[in-house]
Structure formats: C-alpha cells, structure tokens
Symmetry: C2
C-alpha cells in the first residue's frame, strides 16, 4: 500500500504529453486546449494528485510560511493572539510556524536564526522580557524578511508594530476612578525597565493632572510583580498618610495577589481595584476588579498578521513607511452584581 504520491511527470507520461503542459493545464493556463486540460484534470483527480509543496516552495523561493516568536504560548494573551494569527494566515493560505523564547534573550536570538534558515516569508514577534538589543532582527532586513512586532515591541518607531495604547487606557481607568469619587489613587507599577511601566505611569499622571489634581509620586510603587512584591506594595498603601481608596494594578496577577491579601486583612471593601486583563476568568472572583483594561489580543494578532502579509506581498517593501498601529484598548466596567 506504500503508494508514492503521484507527480506531474507521471501524469505527463501516461497522457503522452510534456510535464509543462500538465502543469499549465492544472493552472488553467490559456495556452492549453480545453480538451487536453480536462483530460489532465480528470487523470490528476483519479490518481489523487497533490502538488508537492516542498518542490513548489523550493522552485519559487517562497515558503508561504510566516514565523511567530513569542515569550510563552501558554499565557492566555499569547495563545489568543496566535490563534488569530493562524486564522488570518489560513485565509490567505499561509502556514504558521512558531516558537517560544520563554522570555530568554539568547533563545530568542537562536530562534530568529532558525526562522531565517527556514526561510520564512515574514516574522511576527513579541519580544522577550530581557531583550534590549535588536541586532538579530536587523539582520533579517538584508534577507528581505519583513518583521512585525506586536504587543511587546521595541522602544523605537522605525519598525513595524502593532500594540495597545496602555497610556490612553490608563487615562481612562484613572478618570473612571476619579469620577467614582476617589481622590487618592495608588498604582502598582512594574519595573522601570519595562516600556509598559512608562506608559502606565504617563497615563496615570496625565489623568491626574488633567483633572487639576496633584500627582503624589509616593502613590506610584514599582513592584517586581511577584506575590511578595505585591504584598509589600499593599502595605505601603495601607500605611500611607493619604491612604488610597483605589488602586491600579499592573496586571491581573498583581490584582489577584492584592485582592487576596486585602481579603485576608479584611479591608477589601475599602478599595476599588482596576487591572489590565490577562486572566479570562478573573471576573468570576468574589471581589473582582471594578474595571479591566482590555487589550484585545485577538485583534492585535489579526492586525499584525494582516500587516505582515501585506508587507510580504508588496513589491516595493524598501521604500515603504513603517506601520505603527495602535489598537485602542478599552476599559471594561465589571458590573458587580451584588
């Protein structure tokens, strides 16, 4: 039963015509007569002919494959994004290969190399936490492999990227809290090295200032994002002379730790928490954040994929301007039932 797949040559031999005619016939090339074309197609069908992709790819020098490199596939945000990427790629008949950097710079460099060897037509990347050099991506330019960054993007504009505006989302979040009557709002921010921390801080300050209030820097606490770090930050808030009544948490994990700790101290009712969505089921908690910044991973993935496919199929990629796409994030108000 070990059937070798049917080839064009085989069909040509049986029909006593040339392989080129078979190829053209199958592609509805005008220079092949209708009769011959039908004969070819019929035989191809009955022999279960399937084009040998490897051969075509090789011949065309294109792989119809896009690579995706991201930190951790099992994080909900990324698995949703890649799900979108795959869906978009499939529509245009592209294949997706992916790899995880596990937030490790060296691994990321290796993977970029591997993707290049695989001759992907383009690359989608969400950079690892400890990536601060970007040479490995620049190398791809000379091979004419376009790169689109998404969500975790490098801190400069002369690349293609899709990302969420955390700044404007943070403005919305703080505005919401102010409108609810809060006058002292704390923020548990990430390490200063993260670009995402800057954005949150800027948004926070912008909202406060815009409302003609004064920013109290001691209400913005940097945190290593661990449970222990969160607890320390919480303690600082609890002992603060202007003890805040609302807190903006860096992400859902931090919010989770925070809420857990506040519940333990029985002060949870004295705080409103706003967070950035990572965990799909966080709204099922008893004490949930009053609002969440939704970052639309599916949409980001979709946009990034489409931009990449555009770039791949645009002839004059050289002279092209950089896509700097911002996905507006929204503040989702959790209507707490009870």
């Amino acid at each position: 039963m070990q059937s070798k797949p049917t080839t064009i040559k085989e069909i040509a031999r049986i029909l006593n015509i040339s392989p080129s005619s078979v190829s053209r016939g199958l592609h509805d090339h005008p220079s092949i007569g209708a009769v011959t074309r039908e004969k070819i197609k019929q035989l191809a069908k009955s022999l279960n002919y399937e084009p040998n992709n490897a051969a075509i790819l090789f011949q065309k020098g294109k792989t119809y494959t896009i690579g995706v490199i991201l930190p951790e596939l099992s994080e909900h945000f990324f698995s949703t994004a890649i799900s979108a990427i795959e869906d978009e790629a499939l529509k245009k008949n592209y294949t997706v290969i992916f790899a995880q950097s596990h937030d490790n710079y060296e691994q990321e460099v290796k993977l970029v190399e591997k993707m290049k060897n695989q001759r992907v037509d383009g690359l989608l990347v969400s950079i690892s936490k400890d990536t601060s050099k970007f040479d490995h991506f620049e190398k791809l330019n000379s091979f004419n492999i376009p790169v689109v960054f998404f969500d975790r993007i490098p801190p400069f504009k002369n690349v293609h990227y899709v990302a969420c505006s955390l700044e404007s989302a943070t403005v919305k979040a703080v505005n919401y809290l102010l409108k609810k009557g809060h006058r002292s709002i704390g923020m548990i921010n990430g390490p200063n090295t993260l670009y995402a921390s800057d954005e949150r801080k800027d948004g926070y300050m912008q909202a406060i200032t815009f409302n003609r209030l004064k920013v109290d820097p001691s209400l913005i606490i940097n945190c290593d994002l661990t449970e222990q770090g969160t607890i320390e930050a919480a303690n600082q808030f609890l002992n603060h002379k202007r003890r805040p009544t609302a807190i903006v948490a860096f992400n859902d994990y931090v919010a989770l730790f925070l809420i857990k700790y506040f519940k333990k101290l029985n002060v949870i009712d004295e705080f409103d928490v706003v967070s950035y969505a990572n965990l799909p089921i966080i709204s099922y908690l008893d004490h949930t954040p009053v609002a969440s910044v939704e970052q639309y991973p599916y949409l980001q993935g979709q946009k990034a994929a489409n931009i990449l496919l555009d770039l791949i199929n645009s002839p004059n990629a050289e002279t092209q301007a950089y896509y700097n796409t911002i996905v507006e994030s929204d503040l989702i108000i959790n209507n707490v039932e009870e």
Copy 2:
C-alpha cells in the same frame, strides 16, 4: 543591501572546486581532505552561508516538520500541550506547524488534507468534538504519515495515542469524597456522546460499588456544559430526595457555574465540589473545588511528541505495534486556607 543568500554553488565557484565537494566538506565527509575542508568552512562562515532548507527538504523528501491539529489553541490545556510539543520538537530539530479545527469536523478534514499537502513527516491530533468518522486520518497511512492522537482520542485501540485515564482519576476523586464522609455524591456529567463522559461515569460507579454502596443513577446528571444546563442540574440536586453533599463537576467551567449558583443561593457551604482542571487560577476563587483532577497537558504533549518522533524515525513503521499510552492523572487536594 539586497543580498541574495549564499549558496553552495557560489562557494564552489569561488574556491574553484565542485559543489559536491563543498557539500561534503561542510558535512565532514571523510573523502574531503582536511585542508580543503577548512577552506570551505571558513569561506562558508565568512559569507554567512546558510543551507537552503527548502532545497534540502525537497531533495530529501522529508520536511522535518510535524503538524499539530487541535480544537482550540486558546484553551489553556491545549496551549500548554502545544508548548510542550514545540519544546520537544525543537530539541530534535523539528519544526511545528499547527492549525485549529475550532471543534468543527469539516475544518478538521480540510486541515488534515492541508497538512498532507505540506508533506508533514507526522501528525499530532486532538480530535474535534463532532468528529465521529476517521477516514481522513486513515488516508494518511498510504502516504506513510504517522499519526499520534492525544487527549481527545478516537474510541478504538488500533491507533497510536496518549491520553489521560479519567476513569481511574474519577475513582480517586470519588474515593476521596467518600473518605471525607460523604454518602450521597452527585455527578454533573457531559453529553453521553462523549467518550469522556463514559469514563467519568464508569469511574464513579466503580468507586461507589467498590465501597459496597449502591449507585443511584439519578445522581448522575447529563449536562450540555453550559451555565444554564449547570443550573438545571444543580436544581435537580437541591430537590433530590437524597440531596448530595458533594458533587463531581465535569470540568472547571461547570464547577465555576455551579459554585457561582450555590453562592447566590447561599448553600455553598453545604457542598464539596471536585472538578477536572482546565483553569489555572480556579484555586484563587473564594470557594474553590476541594480537589481537582490534574490531567498534565504538558506531559501529555511531551509524550505524544516523542512517540511521533520515534515513529517518524523508525524504519519499519509498518509492523509496529500501536502505542497506547495512558498518563496517570492525579487528584490534587486543594488545601483551603481558612
């Protein structure tokens, strides 16, 4: 800057030797002298030579690629499994391409076809919910593409698979509840069409019977796994003449709905819930399941990937016995703090 990638031919031309020698030199073939070999390697390095994968794959008729088809990538279980698969594949220098069936049979058939066209060396599959025919997989046999199923497997033994023994896990779960003193234990099971429902039911009955108790069939309720369905099941338990004090939920989603509903009715303290792990953060809930059946997605993915790679590289795949691997699932007791 548009550098065309260096080829073996190019190196050969510069060194005035034949391409075959270059190829052999790069592969440390014994019939190339040490001097020439070094010259070749040096030049290759300085020209940044990278083998053209597409050409090699084409030439060898192998793609060093494994395909993965699963229902929904954004589900935590699957994203963890595929994360493992990717890690294993990378170790052996294989590439992973994947696609989602979105639990749709027709889509699955299409994807299998596409994977075949891509000439994957092997396929890992977790079948879609409404797949009951398996011809599309059998077709792969004649192309000598091995298939390993994982987690969601077909209901027969003459295929390779890796799966969790939900039956024995359910036995453990029910035993645990019995040991805690529960005498009336309800089960919210899935639709009867699912193999997974059978396993749970069998495990339940086995544990009850083994403990010399009588199975009350009305305590096993089939449910469509929606929130509404869960509520209906809950109501049946609440009105049951032998009202259960513990409930085995089909999965974490069902458990979530159930706990939410019980909390609303203020009867949550009258029930112990056991569930099957899908949601990583469910243990952060206020009222969490007292125990969870852990199905080790990472381990399953790992094993499935390794089996597939074995099959791909075993010369006499024909005569091979079928791998039927069962991953023991464990009952994780949640030590509730308060």
